[in-house]
Symmetry: C2
Subunit: 87 residues, 2 copies
């Protein structure tokens, strides 16, 4: 493991990278619209399918709820791809 | 970022932790059975809902297909919780 304390920057905020901590393993959530993926929520920690929709929570506890579904997870690329239900 | 090259161990295998690379951000997938979560696949990179089921792929490209659904993602905890469809 790295011995020194270090800082990583994500979304304009700084986080300490502590010895023994490999890193923040959140992902960014994108909404697929046609052939484009639009950023929906950054630094997502939790995703919970609930009756009211997909509840996404970022590492700061901020929540968004999407009526839709998960299309793809690609965790090494830090990507969650979502699709909104047709209205 | 850490300047030295380092090694992390996961699932009995070693990976280089390179300068500028924060770390492997895979997760372990668990199958919820009653009130227990059983390890289903380690070091999952990709999850793709497909007609034949949830296709899980680990960081080595090994695949498992589960007839079921995602119950919960908790990425900072490296956890994907799945539920198998009733038979």
């Amino acid at each position: 493991m790295a011995e020194e304390k270090d800082i990583i920057e994500r979304g304009g905020e700084s986080f300490p990278l502590l010895p023994g901590v490999i890193g923040m393993c959140e992902a960014n959530a994108y909404l697929r619209r046609g052939d484009k993926d639009e950023l929906y929520l950054e630094m997502v920690d939790k995703v919970l399918p609930q009756p009211e929709g997909l509840v996404l929570e970022d590492i700061f506890g901020r929540r968004k709820v999407l009526k839709g579904r998960i299309l793809e997870l690609a965790l090494v690329d830090h990507r969650i791809v979502l699709e909104e239900d047709p209205k």
